[in-house]
Structures are given as C-alpha cells and as structure tokens.
C-alpha cells in the first residue's frame, strides 16, 4: 500500500525552481534559480556562464585588428559600438587622429545601431508581456536599418566594420539617401509604438510600479544605460565624455526618476526620438575625405595601460588593455554593461510575481553573450 504524501505546497512552503537555461523570456542561455513562495519570488540567483567563450583570453592571442571581430560577438546588437570602443582605444594609445569623415560615419552608425537595438528590444519586450504583434512591427522597422547595414558592409548583425584607424571600406553611395529615406519613415512609425503598447491598459498595469530601483541603488550596482537613466542616474557617456562626433550634435540625455519598469521603457522610447534627431543633424554633414588612415600591418601599442569607454545601446562599455609593447595585448578586460545590469535582478524582483520577473528582465534588456563573454 502506498502511503499518502503529507507534503502539500502551502503558503509558506518554499520552492526552488530553475528558469532557463532555455526559457524563451531570458533571451538566451541564462539560468535563474528562483526561490518561490507560491507565486511570489523570494530570491533570484542568476547563473551565467552557459555561453562563455573566453573572449578576453582569446584576445590575448590575437592582434588588435583581429580582436575587432571578437568584440562583435559580445553584445551582438551593439556590434558597431563594441568595434568603436576597441578602435578608439587603439587610436588613443597610438595618438592617431582619424579623419572627420570617419568620426561622423561612426557616430551615425552608433545611432543606427542604437535604433535597431531598441526596436528589437521593444519587439521582444512586448512579446515577453504577451503582445505578439509588437514583435512583427518592431522587426519590420529594424529591417530597414539592417538593409542600410547590409548594403554598406555586407552583414546584418556582426559587422566588424569599424577598425583601428577608420573603417574597413568606404560606405555605399546609397548610404546617405537611404538614411534620409529612413528618418521620415521611422518618424511616422514611432507613434505607432506608443499607440500599440505605451498607452495600453494591460501593459501599464504590468509595468508601473514593478521593479523599483532608486538612484542610489542604481549607482551602487553600477547600472548604466537606459536602465540606469530610468532611475535618474545621469550616466550617458556620450554627454559626459564625448567621443567621435558627439561633441557637435545637440541631443538630450533622457532621464526619468520613477525607476520602475515603465520608466525604463519610456527612456528607450524617448532615446529613439533623440537618435533620430542626432541622425538628422549628421546625415547632411558627412564630409568628403579618406575613410581610413594608413595603419601599419602589425599594430604594436606602446607599453602601458589604456582604458576607453563608449555608450552602447545597453550602457557603458569599457575596454581595458595592458600592453607590453607586443603585437598582442598582455591582458584585456571588457567592462560590459549587461554583466552589471543582470545582478540587480534579485533586488528588483523580490516580492513580485514570476510574471513580473519576466517583465523586469525584459526591461533590463539583457543580451546574454555580453554577460558571459
């Protein structure tokens, strides 16, 4: 005779379950170990390392030109900014001034990357909350930007386009006209995003006052990018330490003080408007000239330590290189935004329901290969 089990999952029974590594709402191979009380999340322990490729170690056996293609594969949605960070560091170390044309094109590419990244985030965030339509609409607009990328440098996601000294090849002659077509197109489509999701009652109920993060906590955890700016933490590297052509464009740093999921959502939507403004200012000002400066076939950085940071679509990316004067870096470290942004999730999700955990992790806009590198 089988004895009846006395264990009943009650209100105060704790249950430990895994969310991931193949859960669709974690957007990659990330595992959350959840401590649940009923449906309430008591603790979230993120386990990363499922897509660790050792990019930092691999970089120690690659020349500075070759490292560029590895940086693509960290935060694949901000490939241009990652390339730019590494290239700016090499240029800073060698004391090279790149031509104006390169600076302007790099800035345009950064903003286009930011736009396509935020569009994909908006698409996926809606889908996390159960609105499948957003996914199709977001990807439709993203396709336009990817076409611009594909025409000029032959790839849609992993470009390896910005290299030390300039660009791999000159942009396509259609580059300018395509961007000029895209800006009014997207200005017309962006209000649709608001109509579909921003005002929606279901969306508002699920995002307002969910996952509150104060400014002090954001600074303590090192949350940068739109997630940090949603809590009122002014951390835009483009404003504080302008690189490339950001010192000559006029744009606002979007700050919201609420610090909830909805504020983080609003920051990204407003950033898309600001990106369009930056593009409008720069697209007519691409000067003629060389697309690259002549570099030696083998770049050797002078002995020393170098650090360069850029603003990617998800926050501050820092590259730290120790050089001994060899053609390979002695040690390289990437301060990636997603790694810092991930570990605040325990703080944000405590006391909320599992469904809110999905909304919170969606609002942090995590890219898992960037966490593990």
């Amino acid at each position: 005779m089988v004895e009846k089990s006395e264990v009943i999952l009650g209100e105060n029974e704790h249950l430990r379950i895994n969310m991931g590594p193949q859960h669709p709402s974690t957007h990659g191979v990330l595992r959350f170990e959840l401590d649940l009380r009923g449906e309430i999340v008591d603790q979230v322990i993120p386990h990363c390392g499922y897509i660790h490729r050792g990019i930092e170690k691999m970089s120690e056996a690659n020349t500075y030109q070759q490292i560029i293609h590895l940086t693509d594969r960290m935060d694949y949605l901000s490939a241009h900014q990652n390339n730019e960070a590494m290239s700016l560091l090499v240029e800073k170390a060698l004391g090279i001034e790149v031509p104006e044309r390169v600076k302007v094109i790099r800035t345009i590419l950064s903003e286009l990357s930011r736009l396509q990244s935020h569009e994909l985030w908006w698409a996926a965030f809606g889908m996390d909350l159960g609105a499948l339509t957003t996914f199709f609409y977001g990807l439709r607009d993203r396709e336009r930007i990817l076409d611009i990328f594909e025409e000029s440098f032959g790839s849609r996601l992993l470009h390896s386009y910005i290299c030390p000294g300039g660009l791999m090849n000159d942009v396509h002659p259609n580059f300018k006209s395509r961007i000029k077509e895209f800006i009014p197109y997207f200005r017309k489509k962006l209000p649709e995003y608001d109509q579909l999701l921003t005002g929606n009652i279901i969306f508002m109920e699920r995002s307002k006052n969910i996952g509150l993060l104060t400014r002090e906590e954001a600074i303590a955890f090192g949350i940068t990018g739109p997630s940090g700016r949603g809590s009122g933490f002014s951390c835009d590297v483009r404003k504080h330490e302008p690189y490339s052509a950001y010192d000559r464009v006029d744009f606002k740093e979007i700050l919201y003080t609420e610090g909830d999921t909805y504020a983080r959502y609003r920051v990204r939507i407003d950033e898309m408007w600001e990106s369009l403004r930056i593009l409008e200012q720069l697209v007519d000002q691409i000067p003629d000239g060389d697309y690259t400066v002549k570099m030696k076939p083998i770049i050797k950085l002078p002995e020393g330590e170098y650090y360069q940071r850029v603003e990617t679509a998800r926050g501050e990316l820092g590259v730290y290189v120790v050089s001994t004067g060899d053609k390979y870096p002695e040690r390289i470290h990437f301060r990636t935004p997603n790694f810092s942004n991930l570990f605040v999730i325990d703080k944000l999700a405590r006391g909320h329901k599992i469904a809110d955990l999905v909304a919170i992790s969606g609002s942090l806009d995590l890219v898992i290969p960037d966490i593990d590198r």
């Binding site: 690659n62 030109q65 070759q66 560029i68 293609h69 590895l70 339509t133 199709f136 609409y137 990807l139 439709r140 396709e143 594909e150 025409e151 000029s152 440098f153 032959g154 790839s155 992993l158 390896s160 791999m168 090849n169 396509h172 649709e192 109509q195 579909l196 999701l197 005002g199 929606n200 009652i201 279901i202 508002m204 076939p297």
Partner: protein
Amino acid sequence: MNAFFNYFSEIGHGIGTLLKGMRVTSGYFFRPREIITQKYPENRATLKMFDQFKGEVVMPHDKNNNHRCTGCGICENNCPNGSIQILTRKETTPEGKSVRVIDKHIYHLSMCTFCGLCVKTCPSDALAFGQTFEHAVFDRQKLTKVLNKPGSSLKKDVKE
C-alpha cells in the same frame, strides 16, 4: 457613487486604449503589403543580395581560368580562426627562375566568421566575397572548399 463612477470610467478607459491599439493592427490587416518584410523562400528567383554582401570567400577566375593568388600567405596569417590554409609548391619557369605557385587554397567555411580581414589585406586582390548564402549541407566536410579551380594558373600581370 464616486467610486462606482471611477470603476466604470476605468473600464471605459481600458477598452479605449485596447481599441487604439487595435486600430493600428486592423489598419495593417487591410494594407498587408506595408507590414511584410520579405517573402523569402518564395522570392528565391528574384532575390538579389547587395554587392557588398559577405556570403563566402571566393577566388575570382577570369575566362582563361587564371586567378590572382601568388600564395604569399598574408590572408592565412591574418585570419583569426585559421580558416584559410595555403599549400604551395616551387616551380621552375622556362627562363630558369624558381617561383612559388599555389597548389591548393583551402578555405574552411565552417570556421569563417566573415570578418573580412583576408579580403581587405590581400595585396593582389585575389580574394573576394561571394553572394551565396544558403550554406546548409548534410556533411560537414563539404564546408571545406578549395578556392582555386583545377588547372588554373596565376595571371600574367600579377606581381608579388
């Protein structure tokens, strides 16, 4: 009475926001052409990739079956993943000079990350990017390709 009124006005507001979103989607329901990005498998016949598209590394040959590769090995050195191997041999020209000729320019598509360093750094413009993108095969060994065609030789005007 006020709470009662608020309750219904909230419901009304909620339905209003839902209808606002549905107006967008129903608009596209009657204008489906604006929402479609590409009908990929159906448009195979007319699909043309951009000129710069990085499909695979190829070695262009002219109509006399001549390529431009001198076998210098710069692409092999620059490749970060070791996806290029060059096998060369020594040949003696009729004038009595010994020159390096490529036997096989082996390209492992399975290891290639399309960074473009080989094409960019080639001193004699022997390599280019091809436009094909349907690379799925059933056997992994089919992804290892020999880029120089059988019986091909170096073009006359290419200097090392």
